[in-house]
């Protein structure tokens, strides 16, 4: 069992969980993920690592409450235990040591982008962080990013903070600010990653996305996380999770991610009437 050290709501629907897992904390690198089960009988869900403390032996993940299993996670409290936290899994993100890197993040991806952006800065790259949200009240960790990012650009759909609009306006925003990236990193929901990849493909630089398909084991065994990249079948769990967003078949990934949506919705509906104690 793994003890939950902290559980905190960051913004509506997005929660931070810190778990005691010393061996994972010792090994984890930016861009990797862990497989978590919030209770016996619950699904195995992959969550990107948002931070860690090697001394304290803790690993932090940030997740969005979307279905039955994440709902159960969100109801945990500090001091509770979870039966599974396995990892770190996936290849660590390749960290460029120089040049201009633009890190675009939204939703739960803001958290998993943080260690990547921090590592980029520490390695010597000039980091621009772009945070995207529907509204100001859904933003978090802006200050944490400012601690190492050269600049932080905010885009909100309703204009309540920073630029009004969404990531498709990025080419203009970047050129106005005189930013010519050598590399773009994107973390967030599939939609954000596909949109950003499309919008910035014209820059002609690598666009590293951190894919988040459905997984079971996370070690290459089940094959459910397969994605098409440059026409080739890849397993996001072992070949990724990072790929070049310009080469990903986004339509396929979006469809595959939605495979169990009806069943998930039914579980949530059921849980709302007959919620466990």
């Amino acid at each position: 069992m793994f003890k939950v050290a902290k559980l905190q709501r960051m913004v509506p629907n997005i929660h931070l969980m810190e778990v005691e897992a010393p061996e994972v904390a010792e090994q984890v690198q930016p861009g990797q993920f862990v497989i978590v089960r919030g209770a016996e009988g619950a699904e195995r869900i992959p969550l990107s690592v948002a931070d860690w403390d090697r001394k304290a032996g803790t690993v932090t993940v940030v997740f969005m409450e979307v279905g039955a299993s994440t709902g159960r996670l969100a109801r945990l409290k500090a001091g509770d235990s979870i039966p599974t936290l396995a990892g770190p899994l996936g290849k660590p993100t390749a960290i460029a040591g120089e040049g201009q890197v633009v890190c675009v993040a939204g939703c739960y991806g803001i958290a998993s982008m943080m260690p990547v952006a921090r590592a980029l800065h520490e390695a010597g790259a000039e980091v621009t962080v772009v945070l995207e949200a529907r509204s100001r009240f859904l933003l978090y960790w802006e200050e944490r990013m400012r601690a190492f990012a050269k600049r932080v650009i905010i885009i909100t759909r309703d204009g309540s903070s920073g630029h009004r609009g969404h990531v498709s306006g990025l080419p203009e925003i970047l050129s106005q600010a005189g930013i010519k990236p050598n590399q773009v990193m994107v973390n967030g929901c599939t939609f954000l990653m596909s949109r950003t990849s499309g919008a910035l493909a014209g820059l002609g630089v690598p666009i590293t996305v951190s894919l988040n398909p459905i997984m079971i084991d996370g070690t290459g065994m089940c094959g459910v996380c397969r994605v098409t990249v440059s026409g080739q079948m890849k397993f996001a769990c072992v070949d990724g999770p990072d790929f070049d967003g310009r080469e990903v078949d986004w339509k396929e990934l979006l469809a595959r991610r939605k495979q169990y949506m009806d069943e998930e919705a039914y579980l949530c509906h059921r849980a709302s009437c007959a919620r466990e104690a």
Binding site: E23, V24, Q27, R37, G41, A42, E43, R44, A68, S69, R72, P83, T84, L85, A86, G87, P88, L89, I216, D217, G218, T219, G220, M221, C222, G223, V224, R226, V227, T228, M233, V238, D249, K251, E252, A255, R256, K258, Q259, Y260, E263, E264, Y266, L267, R270
Partner: protein, 480 residues
Amino acid sequence: MAEKKKLDLTRRAMPKQPPHIRRRNFSEVALGYTSELALAEAKRCILCKKPTCIDGCPVDIDIPAFVRRIADGDFVGAIRKLKETNCLPAMCGRVCPQESQCEAQCHLHKKEAPIAVGRLERFAADWEAAQGHVEMPEMRAPTGKRVAVVGSGPAGITVAGDLIKLGHQVTMYEALHEPGGVLTYGIPEFRLPKRIVRREMDYIRKLGVDVVCNYVVGRTKTLDQLLEKYDVVFLGTGAGLPWFLEIPGENLCGVYSANEYLTRMNLMRGFAYPRSSIPIKRHGRVAVFGGGNVAMDSARTAMRLGAEEVYIIYRRSRLELPARLEEVENAEEEGVVFKFLTLPVRLIGDDEGWLKEIECLRMELGEPDASGRRKPVKIPNSEFKMPMDAAVVAIGNSPNPLIPKCTPDLKVNKNGTIAVTDVKTGKTSKDRVWAGGDVVTGAATVILAMGAGRAAARSMHEYLTGERLAGTTSEVTTQG
């Protein structure tokens, strides 16, 4: 001779759930012998002077001795005899291909009525469990040596069980949240109930093996890091990387690897959805590609989930099916339709990315190929389509490359299997590291993995203590 007169050639059938009932439930198909049936079957054994059945057993079970004890009504003695060389009799009795191993070597095989060794083995193990008192074997004094076993499937369990009895301290690491490997995630409930796997795992724990789940060796700790803490390491990580057909449309929704399909049901218990919180789809028409035991398991699982039509699509003919005959017959009885000499060439989806049709090609059999089986040859212009809601790809697995990838000095063969310097010992190219089971042979059977585990355990023990264990053989047979 009097003996000849007595020769009983009626192999006692094992009671089963009737097909029309069992095709819609996940309970065990075969119900096991009663004591009366077991006694009658065991008494058929002619106790030959030179028993050949043992030669067919990869873990050298003294078959005549345990069968004799059952015939005498000494069930305690029978299970004790079995456990001398096999720590997993309840499982082997269920899933070993006895028809090509011990039973194929039985003298009564020529008369088409070999002793039902597997059923008797299962009976003895189940009888012991039903009594509630599981006997502990003799344990040697602690040696102070530390052993890590990576993977908790049949090979790993055998190594752990053998070495703990010899006094070594054993830790077994499992990446998933429950131990058992393929016994837990792969073989379905209706063929190997998970309570039996848990029972055998409890036994291993009672022996003193420390079982650590949720631990991905290669990631949580590398092999080299393990070697800092342990004197020797055994790799029994199995064959868990699924093959795909590499045809268009394989990433459509509704197309599964057999690993995903079966893991969702067996390890995650998705069949209980929506009582379990593991979402699954109940498809109407399901095609399973492949002809092995995993294909049969997938097809029969689909049937139990309520499918109206289930097809096994296999490119060769019935004769070449690699699955156990018993499983093929079970599948047929349950209503699975076999499409032989048929090759899937394209999977066609709808606008939402869901599978809607499969396109196949007819085949004919040509000359024998490297495997000795007649090679299927495509018949030109024989394409045809079948409407289909789901497809399960069950054409095989290669070893998981995770550990070799992060261990540069561990030699691997071209097909991804770990290279061993000696098949009789399972010693790898890396100092203090042994390997066995599917990770060395490629996907094979539970019992062959156990045989390899047994051989590796002997070799590891010899390395640790200098003692060479006496025993009938330490060879790993390649039969089966």
